[in-house]
């Protein structure tokens, strides 16, 4: 029963990891920008939701505001930070340092404005009840899975049916080709940032309800997203989502066999192993040598 409980708990966490990781992978795949400030979108979305929720506003308003702020932040990063750097042909790590700086600014502004320390949106959704003997599930479990499933389905349809979605996928495969066909890769980059950042918002809202937030939470989110993108195979959204899910499950299920202090390391052992033995990831093309 412990195993089942850990598995289900891991799925709930994993669904949220999958959403943020997928957003990160979408941005990285389409624009080749290592969006290290993805965690900052998450922090901003979570805190805005908390603010509205704790002031008695309805949940839908909080969710919309969270999506809006995450999207706005992502687009602003593309427009004002990454694009100027790329215009100068700045390298991979130039982008990384710039984004790191922005994350520091966001984290500390949030701390000054919303107070430092642990905050949580109090909701009955996160309270678990015993559904089977020894197995506790909270309503938020179903919400998380449903939200993730619906969003992935919608994203899949958009990327395969809508012209802009198709172009976005094409951009991730060959950006020169896009230009040759007269499509604006700048507009598509903005779209990738908007979509990718928006995907972080629902995960942030659900995290605010379940495990709660502190102003430094973005860091962890970022690590997981990055690991999942690599494990899943760069350029594969399906891979990133599945890897995010597995990282969540692994982190939880490992407690069936080991003591909790090893849980976090376990995810990264998986990551390290993947890079050594299957560098192209779950669904990636063989880009390594």
């Amino acid at each position: 029963m412990l195993f089942l409980q850990l598995l289900l708990g891991g799925l709930q966490t994993g669904a949220l990891y999958a959403l943020t990781a997928c957003g990160f992978a979408l941005i990285f795949g389409a624009t080749k920008v290592f969006h290290f400030a993805h965690g900052a979108s998450f922090t901003l979305a979570g805190y805005l939701f908390l603010l509205l929720w704790n002031n008695g506003h309805p949940a839908w308003l909080g969710v919309l505001a969270a999506i809006a702020v995450a999207t706005g932040f992502g687009v602003a990063m593309e427009r004002f930070v990454y694009r100027p750097i790329q215009r100068h042909e700045g390298g991979f790590f130039t982008v990384f340092v710039a984004a790191f700086g922005v994350s520091l600014v966001v984290q500390n502004l949030v701390g000054m404005w919303a107070g430092r320390g642990f905050v949580v949106a109090d909701s009955s959704l996160s309270r678990a009840t015993e559904v089977l003997p020894e197995v506790f599930l909270a309503p938020v479990f179903w919400v998380s899975l449903a939200v993730a499933a619906v969003l992935f389905l919608a994203l899949g349809i958009f990327l395969t049916r809508h012209p802009a979605g198709v172009a976005l996928r094409a951009l991730s495969q060959n950006s020169d080709l896009i230009r040759a066909y007269g499509l604006s890769s700048h507009r598509l980059s903005l779209l990738a940032f908007a979509l990718g950042s928006a995907l972080a918002a629902p995960a942030a809202v659900l995290t605010a309800i379940t495990t709660g937030m502190n102003e430094a939470v973005g860091h962890h989110v970022m690590l997981i997203s990055m690991a999942a993108t690599i494990v899943g195979g760069v350029g594969s959204l399906k891979g990133a989502a599945l890897a995010g899910l597995s990282l969540g499950v692994a982190e939880s299920v490992v407690l069936n066999f080991a003591d909790p202090q090893w849980a976090e390391a376990a995810s990264f052992v998986v990551l390290f192993g993947f890079i050594l033995f299957r560098p192209s990831g779950l669904f990636g093309h063989a880009v390594a040598r």
Binding site: K32, F34, V81, P84, I85, H88, E89, G90, G91, F92, F93, T94, V95, F96, V97, A98, A99, F100, G101, V102, S103, L104, V105, Q107, N108, L109, G111, M112, L223, M226, A227, I230, V234, Q261, W262, E264, A265, S267, F268, V269, L271, F272, I275, L276, P279, V287, A288, R289
Partner: protein, 290 residues
Amino acid sequence: MTAYLANLATLAAIFGILAATLNVAVGYAGIFSVAHAVFFGLGAYAGAQLALLVVPDALLAMVVAALVAGGLSLCLALPALRVRGEYFVAASLGLQMMATTLFTEAKGLTGGMGGLVGIPRPMILGVEVPTLALALTALVLILLATWLMARGSFGRTLRAIRDAESAAEALGKNINAAKALAVAFACAGAGVAGALFALHMSFVNVESFTLDQSVLIMAMVIVGGTGTLWGPLLGAVLLLSLPAGLSFLPFIPPTEIGAVQQILYGAAMTLLMIFRPAGLLGDMRTGRKA
């Protein structure tokens, strides 16, 4: 005031070594590692244990630290020889996270979160020497080694690998050996820095060897300019003295000092990258996509 500046200068020299050695991996061989703090930590623990258990001899501590860190850097070289670019970043990230857990759990060797206390002051042949002098000497030697290496044929091989790996291979360069050597040199240097750090602080614990520290060292290299001799050193001095200098600002309310400093610090990094993407001393024309 002198003691304060001496302390800052010592830390700047130690981080200068870290940044300069990481630069060998990043700037010359194109190996992007965010696990430099792991080897910094290995060196610090090795140096500290030697000083605590055997003899507080600074030279011996540095040599042992360099051997331990350089030797174990094969763990890092392994993925470095297999994958490139973002993949290697992620591999080193995995290594960093595993190492942090191991440093915390291996209490017999590292003291865990509680750390190692009472590390004696550094001596050379039984005479106490200031860490500043040691750190500066080590820094100069490492910069010299880097400079000689960059000019020699090994440096050309590394640059060839960085710019066009397949072409370098086609030209008959032994890529694996060159990469492994670059990694070993970088990590041994980090080990030396670690030993100096342990002797200087007389206390070390795992909190100095986390991912944040690795990211900071990486930022120093990038801010200063990758692939340049003086850039990483400048980056180290700048990123250490910026928060220290900001703490002299008299008008910030005490509870907000930390946040304001961090905001200014973060903003400075971002703006610098927007306006000088190749780093302060980097050549704008040769900035490349890695």
